[in-house]
Structures are given as structure tokens and as C-alpha cells.
Symmetry: C2
Subunit: 237 residues, 2 copies
DNA sequence: GTGCAAAATATCGTATACAATTTAGCCGTC
DNA sequence: GACGGCTAAATTGTATACGATATTTTGCAC
């Protein structure tokens, strides 16, 4: 009897179950705003959409509930999370709390090729910034998150990386709900400034910029509501 | 059609499902060391133990997997997490990263009655410290975690609180695995020092003490393995 | 006795079925 | 017309059933 294997990579070795795929698909749909906050995600509907049984649909929804992207209410069903303004503030407070530390860790370990990778992300982000249309906006939100996620990956701490995964996804939800889209472009240059500060090894300045960046995103939120688009339309057609 | 209710308290309103109870029971068993790392938790066995079907047992195990307390391997089964030394280092690195920030937030919001509550925790912890026996040791580990958890609760950020929940639980697992029990008592006085620093509003010192405290715990780890005790014995008799 | 192959066993992955709860519609009464 | 209760439909909670995969055991040859 082997003692539970390596246990270093918890469960990310491969897509161990079909529920993972459904979870990822729904998560992408949420993060990319194809599913609006508050949309009901009935187990039957989800199962039918992906041609699986309710068992897998339920597992996927429960997993998303752990990540804070859907909220399941007892005997009532699952809904795309509808973060309250207070919840939004907590999300960004958490990011202000952890991202400077992650940045310092990442800067201490970063390699030239990783810096190059970050710069490529910046370029892709800038390209998206120039484009118009809802699709470009979605991609821009995702790209903006990828920058922070890559930093977390570079830090080498899998636990913080997973936490940032959650925070970024929920941030996307908050931005989709409350953000005024016109201003998200300024975040790009701030990303560039951070990379520059890392490159010249000015960590204090990099952290300062990071905090400013997060505060800046948070400052650009209003409380307008957006109407849901429905489940089927988000995946079909 | 209501828009998904408040969504502030995500799912903690009440025990919405029997799986939650099983999850909590198993988590307590893990944190209190009644279940040793590496112990196999077959879905059938868990279900039989709690007199529920495999469905609920599976849901509970999956939830614990998300918290990092058990690792599920495809087509092989679930095991109590067996954190590697590297994983242990990451857990404590994460705590060093977030706990000073949580401490600052908590100190900014703390009320006299909450300070009193913290002191009561310290007293209870001290009482446990004096006692002998495995049971007292378990309670001491739990109490030590409660101090950090209470701080997170005071900080008022539910997201960070949940993250600390996970970190503390996994820390208990690491301590149970690698810790040399004789030294955990010194952590108590350090807790007291931190509270004292908070009370006189010396936040820099409090953070310094917190970092020292975490580093101290981490320094007292060796790599000895401990044998599992088996599933049934942990719950029965 | 050792090593390999194949059946047997155990366990997980998924689907389906039934029970319990909530929600919506309907009707009657005030 | 509004409100309260009752029935019916829909949805979730849980259990069971069946198929797939991994592990162990058995058997045989060497």
C-alpha cells in the first residue's frame, strides 16, 4: 500500500473527471461575461446543455460554489454569483493584501525568460486594448487577469497561485457587474510600469505601483445592474 | 424571479446538506489528528460510517479535496492529504504573506470586547498547555489555530477568513506530520505578546512578532513520518 | 521459488430513479 | 379586487444501479 503518492500536485495532473470540463466551461462563460450574475443554473439545464447527467452538473456547480463564482442555496438552486458591493470591496481588499507579497516573491525568483513572457502578455493586452467590440472587451478583462495570474505563477507558491486564481475570477465578475468599461485601458500601462519596476529591481516602487493599480481598478466601479442573458443563449449560437 | 438573493453570506446560512456535516466531521478528525495523513478514505467506507450513500460521501470528500485536506486520485480513491515538505513550506510562506496584513486590518477594527475574547482564548490555550496526553495536544493544536482564525474573523474580510481557515487546517496537518510536539508550547506566549502589542497599538511590533511566531513554528519541523490509525477506529471507540 | 498473465475483486465514474422541498398556479372566500 | 390556503408542477436532495478502471489474487510455466 503506497502512502498516497506525491501529493504535491493536488489534483491537476489531468482532467480526472468530466465534471472538471463542465466546471471550466461554465467558469469561462462567467468570467467572459456570457453568463450574467444572478442567472439561474439549474442542474437539469446544465446537464442537458453538456449532455451529461445531473450528477456531473451538480458536481460542477458545487465546485464553482467553492470558488465563489456561483452561489448554491439549499433546495433552491444554483445562481451565478451576484457579488454585493461589500463583497466586491472585500475581494479587492484581499488583493491589496496579498498581491504586493506575491510580487516580491515573484521578483525574487523571476528569470529573464519569464520577464520576456510577461512582456509578451503586455503586448497582447495592448493589441486587445485597441480593438472595439464586446468580444475584445471580454478578452481584455481576461488578459488583464492573466498578468496578475502569471505573476502568482512565477512566485512559485502553488497555494497563493490558486488563491489568486479565485480572486481574479471573482474580480472579473465584479468588474463585469460594476465596472465602467471605458477606463479599463489605463490598467494596461500600469501593468507595463510594474514590469519595468521589476526589471530594474525596484521592488518598493513595484509594490507601490501594484497597490495603486488595484486601487485604481476599484475606484472605477459603479453600482449599475446588468441583466442576465440566459443560459442556453450563452453556449449555443 | 428574484435576483439570487443577497449573496453576501455565500452558503453558511445553515447546514444546507448532509454532506456538509460529513465534511466537517472528517475535517475535524483530520485537524485533530484522529486521521493520519495518507489514510485511505474510500467512498463506500465513509458512506457506511455515516450511514449515508456514496453520493454524499463523495461530495464531502470532494469538498475536502478543494480545501487541500484530502487528495483524490482518479480511479484510485481519496486519501488524507500527505503534505510534502515543499508543500509545507508553501503553506507557511502563504501565512507569512497574509497574516501581517490580516493583523493590521484586525487591529484597525478591533473592539474592546473582541480583545477580551482574544484574551480568553489565550487563557484556554494556556490551560491546555499545562495538561498532558494526546487529547490535550490535539486540543492545543486546535486552540493555537483558533487564535489566528479569530484574528482573521475580526479583520472583517470573509474572503481572507476563509483562506485562513484553509491555511490553518493545512498547517495543523503539517504540524501533526512534521512537528515535534514539545515546542508548540512556546507559541502560546508569542500569541500573548501579539495581543499585548495590539492592545498598545504598536502594529509594527505586532506584525514583527507575528512573522517571528510563524517562522518559529516552521522552524520546529522535522521529516519524521507517522503511521495512520485507520478510518473506523478514528470514529468508533 | 520467481515471474508473468489473466481472472477476480474492489473501487471509482456516471446515469437513473425516487423522495423531499420549494415554487407556481388556481380557486374560493372575505 | 385582494388575500389565504390548497393542489400540481418543477427542482433539488439522496439513494441505488450499472459500467469502467485500477488493484489484487490466482494459476501456470519456467
Amino acid at each position: 500500500m503506497k502512502p498516497a503518492a506525491t501529493a504535491l500536485q493536488t489534483a491537476e495532473d489531468s482532467t480526472d473527471t468530466g465534471a472538471q470540463q463542465i466546471r471550466d466551461a461554465i467558469r469561462d462563460a462567467i468570467v467572459e461575461r456570457r453568463l450574467s450574475p444572478g442567472t439561474k443554473l439549474s442542474e437539469s439545464d446544465v446537464g442537458n446543455l453538456f449532455n451529461v447527467s445531473r450528477t456531473l452538473a451538480r458536481a460542477a456547480l458545487q465546485a464553482l460554489s467553492y470558488e465563489g463564482l456561483v452561489s448554491v442555496e439549499k433546495n433552491r438552486g444554483a445562481f451565478v454569483a451576484y457579488p454585493s458591493p461589500d463583497e466586491a470591496r472585500q475581494i479587492f481588499a484581499a488583493r491589496r493584501l496579498v498581491e504586493p507579497g506575491i510580487l516580491r516573491e515573484a521578483a525574487a525568483r523571476i528569470t529573464p525568460s519569464q520577464i520576456q513572457h510577461l512582456k509578451q502578455l503586455l503586448i497582447a493586452e495592448g493589441r486587445l486594448m485597441g480593438e472595439r467590440g464586446q468580444m475584445a472587451r471580454r478578452a481584455e478583462i481576461k488578459a488583464s487577469g492573466d498578468f496578475h495570474l502569471t505573476l502568482a505563477a512565477i512566485s512559485g507558491n502553488a497555494i497563493m497561485q490558486r488563491f489568486m486564481d479565485e480572486l481574479v475570477a471573482r474580480s472579473s465578475l465584479v468588474i463585469a457587474l460594476y465596472g465602467q468599461s471605458t477606463i479599463s485601458s489605463c490598467g494596461h500601462s500600469e501593468h507595463g510600469d510594474i514590469v519595468a519596476a521589476i526589471e530594474r529591481n525596484d521592488l518598493d516602487e513595484a509594490c507601490r505601483l501594484m497597490l495603486h493599480h488595484i486601487a485604481h481598478i476599484e475606484a472605477d466601479l459603479d453600482l449599475r445592474e446588468r441583466k442576465s442573458v440566459g443560459l442556453k443563449e450563452a453556449f449555443e449560437g
